[in-house]
């Protein structure tokens, strides 16, 4: 009798607690298969890497909605020499892995560093196109710079001479909102810092 009374009360308590709004349901867990992107990359037409001069806004039409986007300016106040000697590396949308054309460019850049400026301190700046969130692009740009840094070290460049920074989508090379502009903005640039 006593036991059943206690059990009954306990039952009510639990029911009351549940009714009282303990709505701490577990969020839906759903794992998605991660599609291997490297394979897809290879199938794409290899885009010719362009030297940075061509990437500057010359005849780009400035879209009306982009008035407040910061003007495309070269990263930091770099001497013109360092801009011309290194080639810029380009990426696919939302990707930080290196395309074949990017690897070709990096081989050339690595050779330049090893032969002409073995002790130079070089900063790799990762950039993104205007699509996607500003915050996510900061992290993505860093991932791009890191991919470049890692690849250069495999080519023999000393890791301690390479630093990285990300500007996300804050410093576009060209203004514009079409694939031509986006492709030029998804990039990693080289700056000699010392």
């Amino acid at each position: 009798m006593k036991k059943s009374m206690v059990a009954f009360l306990t039952g009510i308590s639990i029911a009351a607690l549940l009714a009282g709004g303990c709505a701490n349901k577990e969020a839906v867990k759903k794992e998605e298969a991660i599609v291997p992107v490297a394979a897809v990359e290879q199938a794409k037409p290899v885009e010719q890497a362009k030297p940075i001069e061509q990437a500057k806004p010359v005849e780009e039409v400035k879209p009306v909605q982009e008035v407040a986007v910061p003007m495309a300016t070269p990263v930091a106040q770099q001497p013109a020499e360092s801009v011309s000697r290194f080639e810029t590396v380009y990426f696919d949308f939302d990707k930080s892995d290196l395309r074949q054309d990017a690897r070709d460019v990096l081989s050339k850049n690595a050779e330049l560093i090893l032969k002409s400026m073995p002790g130079a301190k070089i900063q790799i700046a990762g950039h993104c196109d205007e699509r996607g969130s500003a915050e996510y692009n900061l992290a993505l740009g860093e991932h791009r710079a890191k991919s470049v840094q890692k690849y250069l070290t495999t080519l023999g460049v000393k890791a301690e001479n390479l630093s990285i920074i990300s500007y996300g989508k804050e410093k576009p090379a060209v203004n514009g909102n079409d694939e031509a502009a986006w492709a030029k903005n998804r990039r990693a640039e080289f700056v000699v810092v010392k």
């Binding site: 006593k2 308590s13 794992e31 407040a68 996607g132 969130s133 500003a134 992290a139 920074i165 804050e170």
Partner: protein, 436 residues
């Protein structure tokens, strides 16, 4: 003996259970506010009579300001339909006491705001009263003392009070919004009243400044700046331009957000290789890593009780919103629709999380219940990002690029009443709403 004991404790449990069941009902049955309802489903109509000056000459600008502010706030709330009406005679006496309700009633108003003000030099005194026109009685009254420039704040404050009387919940009309604007050519941090007035530049360093967040007391902000080269996290007071580097660790120091109790800051750091969520003490010390994952983890958002953190991660390939306990345990995916979901912000009421989703047509603002259900799209026009809740959870502010004008917009939490609050023609980014 034993028998009595058990019965005694059983009785206590029974009383406790009864209390649990009855307490909410008792609380609901006795609201601490006056219920004002219009017959049928008609929206209540609020008239704001012109404020009466106690000193002549009358200041017409001040009078219009008061009516406009209260009408704007109350119309945005969606709770009443408000309009400024001038009926009060400039020289009448005792206008707050002897109100002739008949003309207001015949014009179909349910509620009436009357006010008197005195402006002597810079000294402002203003008194507001809210009347129930139908029952011919005063519902609330407030008197404010301050400087001439405080008229805006006092009007917003009385709008907060009107909302409290009508709904039982104080408004958030005296709060402010911090944001990023590139009107000087560089992205700098600004702060403005919630309705877009009094925009004030905070940073002027000519660098890139991003993602401001208010301290819970509204007196300080944190933000990321490239002013010394690296994206570091800074902290400064709204009233003092001195900026203190709070976190200048190697790599990213981004998307910082104050914990609801102000004791900690959650942010994304990449000092250990890739962007991960950390918490810091509010002075920037004692970093505690919460995520351990080779993917990008960023944009933390505290739950209002400080026990959970929502964040963005691309651990499944594309950025999605996840929730974890504040110690990093129990990570679960929140958003299951769409393949690019970012910018989570937890409602101050705890029930919903606002975020933005990218589709082919750009970004739109959504809300989702904290358990992942009730995913709801709130914007459809243009490109809409970085939602931030008002302190009363009634509104969401966001940045928008749309045909009707780029700027910062405010809408009700259900997506209705989308209104541009910034006045300039620039692009505005990353708005964040202060707490009460």
């Amino acid at each position: 003996m034993c028998h009595d004991k058990i019965d005694g404790s059983a009785m206590k449990i029974l009383l406790f259970v009864l209390l649990l069941i009855l307490l909410p009902a008792v609380l609901c049955a006795q609201p601490d506010y006056i219920e004002v309802t219009a017959p049928g489903n008609r929206q209540l109509r609020l008239a704001i009579d012109s404020p009466r000056p106690l000193d002549l000459p009358a200041n017409l600008e001040t009078a219009k300001l008061v009516s406009d502010i209260i009408a704007f706030d109350m119309n945005m709330s969606g709770v009443v339909k408000a309009e400024g009406r001038s009926r009060q005679s400039v020289t009448g006496n005792l206008s707050l006491v002897d109100v002739d309700f008949v003309p207001w009633l015949s014009d179909g108003f349910d509620l009436l705001v009357r006010s008197e003000y005195s402006l002597k030099g810079e000294r402002l005194t203003v008194e507001f009263r809210l009347f129930d026109v139908i029952n011919r009685k005063m519902l609330t009254a407030k008197r404010y003392l301050g400087a001439a420039k405080d008229m805006r704040r006092f009007s917003h404050s009385f709008a907060d009070e009107i909302l409290r009387v009508i709904t039982g919940e104080k408004g958030a009309f005296t709060t402010r919004i911090a944001y990023v604007s590139a009107q000087t050519g560089n992205k700098e941090i600004y702060v403005m009243d919630w309705d877009g007035n009094n925009p004030l530049p905070l940073t002027k360093n000519g660098s890139i400044n991003l993602n401001p967040d208010f301290s819970p007391d509204g007196r300080e902000i944190i933000f990321t700046s490239y002013k010394r080269g690296n994206p570091d996290l800074y902290r400064r007071s709204l009233s003092n331009p001195a900026e203190v580097a709070l976190s200048n660790r190697k790599g990213l120091n981004i998307t910082g957000i104050w914990s609801p109790d102000g004791s900690k800051i959650a942010l994304s750091l990449s000092k250990d290789g890739d962007a991960e969520i950390y918490t810091l003490d509010k002075d920037g010390s004692h970093p505690t890593r919460l995520t351990i994952n080779p993917a990008l983890d960023l944009y933390p958002a505290w739950s209002p009780n400080g026990k959970q953190i929502a964040f963005v991660s691309d651990r499944l390939g594309k950025p999605q919103i996840f929730v974890m306990n504040v110690d990093g345990s129990n990570v679960r995916r929140l958003t299951t629709n769409g393949n690019y979901n970012v910018n989570p912000r937890w409602s101050p009421k705890g029930d919903k999380i606002a975020y933005s989703r990218m589709t082919d047509g750009g970004f739109n603002i959504f809300t989702v219940a904290a358990d992942g259900s009730s995913d709801t799209q709130l914007t459809y026009d243009g490109n809409n990002e970085n939602p931030s809740w008002s302190a009363d959870a009634r509104f969401i502010c966001f940045s928008s690029k749309r045909n009707s004008g780029n700027g910062l917009y405010v809408m009700r939490a259900d997506g209705s009443g989308q209104t541009r609050v910034t006045q300039g023609k620039m692009s505005y980014f990353q708005p964040v709403w202060s707490a009460h």
